[in-house]
Amino acid sequence: MIPLSHYLIVSAVLFTIGTAGVFLRRNFITILLSIEIMLNAVNLTFVAFGRQQGGVDGQIIVFFVMAVAAAEAAVGLAIVIGLYRHRESLNPDAFASLKW
């Protein structure tokens, strides 16, 4: 049997990788991909804990997270398309008009 902490560590590492990706990448698509990684890490945590507690609640939550992630990805990509049309670039640094 695999201890719960192992799963949680995996989840933590994945979450951190996703965070680093959001931070370090200069491409909108990649940033969105990193966000998906983070969401998946969270899903893993939920399933692990749900299994630990012996009910289906963890999976239910994952179900909803997936639905929301899908919606968010769709909307996010639509925005990216809109932005690309505006500036012909996928670099977030190109959109800096709201500065001081």
Binding site: F23, L98, W100
Partner: protein, 661 residues
């Protein structure tokens, strides 16, 4: 019913203040005079009722409402009439009525709205003065005290388009304020020590304490502070400087406020607190000395003044000094007696001078007068009566009251003070008759150097004329009526105080005794008079008469028969003459020592230094700090999304770290 005495003038004030400018002069003046006469009638009835009470209970009280109720301390708005205030209300309302009637004619050339404003102020003044004398406790008296100061300011500066009038009004108010400050401190000290401000309760409490002989305790300090307030109101050294300048106001105002009533408030206050002052012999001595010195100082200045009203102003200061001298030696009854007779003849003299000024269309310099006896007979004869009375010529009122003061001073052993008082009386007779002779006798002169504007701002067609003498009209009926009544009073008023030595009963002193009860100082006036004392009194009476007649003789010699003596003396002692003419340069000294330092301190120190730099700096600085910090904080808005993501991440790390710690 007591409230009616002061309600009548108050109603007159309200009527004239609200509607006066639309009313014709007859109505506004008539209303003002009518309310004063009504107040006088009620006062007379009240005094009659008072006289009907047995001696021990001679006080009528009326509480209007509870003014302050704070914890244990309760202070009511209470009016109380006792023998002392009875004298005062009769003087205020009686002489006040006469002056109101006089004013209806004197102020007739003013515009309707100005006329009404004048009478509104005059009524208001009467109301406040009555509050002052009828108040049963210090606080009510103080309301009146401040109120008459306010009205004095308003009336001195009545012709507010004239700069000197405005300045004089301000000076009067500010100098009075200094005195009022001391007065307040005295009141607070009494309250802190005794827990009450009611006059009767204070007197009862103080009577049980031994007098502070040789030591300067609470009573002495409190009474000294009160007296400083009195020096402001009653124009003694050092706060008398406002009174001569106050002559900028209309002459009836000078007569009422600065001769008969307001300036006597200080003397009245001392009399009201006779028990308190008697228990503080140190303060009483200070009062007497200051009174005597003031009397002498003012008399010397009055000898050389050229403005008619200034001479009378200094005369007032001098007579007030004599009253303070009386209070200071413990002769409270004598002081009030002189207050009462002085009201008559000083008002008379002022109103007479007003008639002269009115006839000469604004001329006030006696060097431009002379020979008016022929043209203004009524004015002349009434003025002469007043001058005789103030000089202390026997059988007129001034003789009885002034002699009483000097006798009491001598009898109590203050020989030096007696001497100073006698010299001051000699000079009084001299300068008063100088005034009479230069104004009314001889031929009309025009000796004064021309001054740029008339002292009485009137329409141009009435400017003083140096051309051929235009027909001078004597006092119109309203003015003449007041003059004559006052002249009669000046002669007869003294007969209620005829001393025992001459066979009288000194009824005034007997009447006033309950008010000064337990003071121990009045007893002397009423005690059975032994043979030695009678002889002493006769001697002193003779001396006083000699002084009066001697002063008149000097005046006759120097200013009537041989006028060149005055001029030659001025030439021989030019320094002294200049010193007296310039009032000992007291105003200049005050200006340099007090006024300018305060002005410079306020302007440079407080305004430029503190207000502009510190306070404005703090306020502006706050704004500048906000702007600067905002300028720094806005740099956080970089516009880069990654920066915002980064800050979120930092936040997560920090919070997580905090919870894990």
């Amino acid at each position: 019913m007591l409230a009616l005495i002061l309600l009548f003038p108050l109603l007159g004030f309200l009527a004239n203040a609200s509607f006066g400018r639309r009313l014709p002069k007859t109505i506004s003046g008539g209303v003002a005079s009518a309310v004063m006469v009504a107040s006088f009638t009620v006062s007379a009835m009240t005094v009659w009722e008072l006289a009907g009470l047995p001696v021990e209970q001679r006080a009528i009280e009326q509480t209007i409402y509870t003014w302050i109720a704070s914890g244990d301390f309760v202070l009511d708005l209470t009016l109380r009439v006792d023998p002392l205030s009875a004298v005062m209300i009769l003087v205020i309302t009686g002489i006040g009525s006469l002056i109101h009637i006089y004013s209806t004619a004197y102020m007739h050339e003013e515009a309707d709205s100005e006329y009404a404003r004048y009478f509104a102020y005059l009524n208001l003044f009467a109301a406040f003065m009555l509050v002052l004398v009828l108040g049963a406790n210090f606080l009510v008296m103080f309301v009146g005290w401040e109120g008459v100061g306010l009205c004095s300011y308003l009336l001195i500066g009545f012709w507010f388009k004239k700069q000197s009038a405005i300045d004089a009004g301000k000076k009067a108010f500010v100098v009075n304020r200094i005195g009022d400050y001391a007065f307040i401190l005295g009141m607070l000290l009494l309250f802190a020590h005794f827990g009450t401000l009611d006059f009767q309760q204070l007197a009862a409490t103080v009577a049980t304490i031994p007098p502070e002989v040789g030591v300067f305790g609470v009573l002495s300090i409190a009474s000294l502070l009160l007296f400083i307030g009195a020096t402001g109101k009653s124009a003694q050294i050092p706060l008398y400087v406002w009174l001569p300048d106050a002559m900028e106001g209309p002459t009836p105002v000078s007569a009422l406020i600065h001769a008969a009533t307001m300036v006597t408030a200080g003397v009245y206050m001392i009399g009201r607190n006779a028990v308190l002052f008697s228990h503080a012999p140190g303060t009483l001595m200070i009062v007497a000395v200051i009174g005597a010195l003031t009397a002498l100082l003012a008399a010397t200045i009055g000898l050389v003044q050229n403005d008619m009203k200034r001479v009378l102003a200094y005369s007032t200061v001098s007579q007030l000094g004599l009253m303070c001298l009386a209070m200071g030696v413990g002769a409270f009854g004598a002081g009030i007696f002189h207050l009462y007779t002085h009201a008559f003849f000083k008002a008379l003299l002022f109103l007479g001078s007003g008639a002269v000024i009115h006839a000469l269309h604004g001329e006030q310099d006696i060097r431009n007068m002379g020979g008016l006896k022929r043209h203004l007979p009524v004015t002349y004869w009434t003025f002469l009566v007043g001058a005789l009375a103030i000089s202390g010529v026997p059988l007129l009122s001034g003789f009885f009251s002034k002699d009483e003061i000097l006798y009491e001073a001598f009898r109590e052993g203050h020989t030096v003070l007696w001497f100073i008082g006698a010299v001051a009386s000699l000079m009084t007779a001299a300068y008063m008759f100088r005034l009479v002779f230069l104004t009314f006798h001889g031929e009309r002169r025009h000796d004064a150097p021309a001054h740029p504007e008339p002292s009485h701002p009137e329409p141009s067609h009435l400017a003083p004329s140096h051309l051929a003498p235009s027909p001078l009209h004597d006092a119109p009926p309203a003015m003449a009526f007041a003059l004559i009544v006052l002249a009669i009073g000046a002669v007869l008023a003294g007969y209620i105080g005829v001393p025992h030595a001459l066979g009288g009963h000194n009824q005034l002193a007997e009447w006033l005794a309950p008010s000064f009860a337990a003071s121990g100082a009045v007893g002397g006036e009423l005690a059975a008079v032994g043979a030695e004392e009678v002889a002493l009194e006769f001697t002193l009476m003779g001396v006083s008469s000699a002084i009066a007649l001697g002063g008149i003789a000097i005046a006759v010699l120097v200013w009537l028969r041989r006028p060149e003596i005055a001029a030659s003396m001025a030439r021989r002692y030019p320094g002294l003459h200049r010193l007296l003419l310039n009032k000992y340069y007291v105003d200049e000294v005050y200006n340099a020592v007090v006024v300018q330092p305060i002005r410079v301190g306020s302007q440079e120190g407080l305004w430029r230094g503190f207000d502009v730099r510190v306070i404005d700096g703090a306020v502006n600085g706050t704004g500048a700090i906000v702007a600067a910090s905002a300028g720094v904080l806005r740099l956080l808005q970089t516009g880069f999304v990654r920066t915002y993501a980064g800050s979120m991440l930092i936040g997560v790390v920090v919070i997580l770290g905090y919870y894990l710690w």
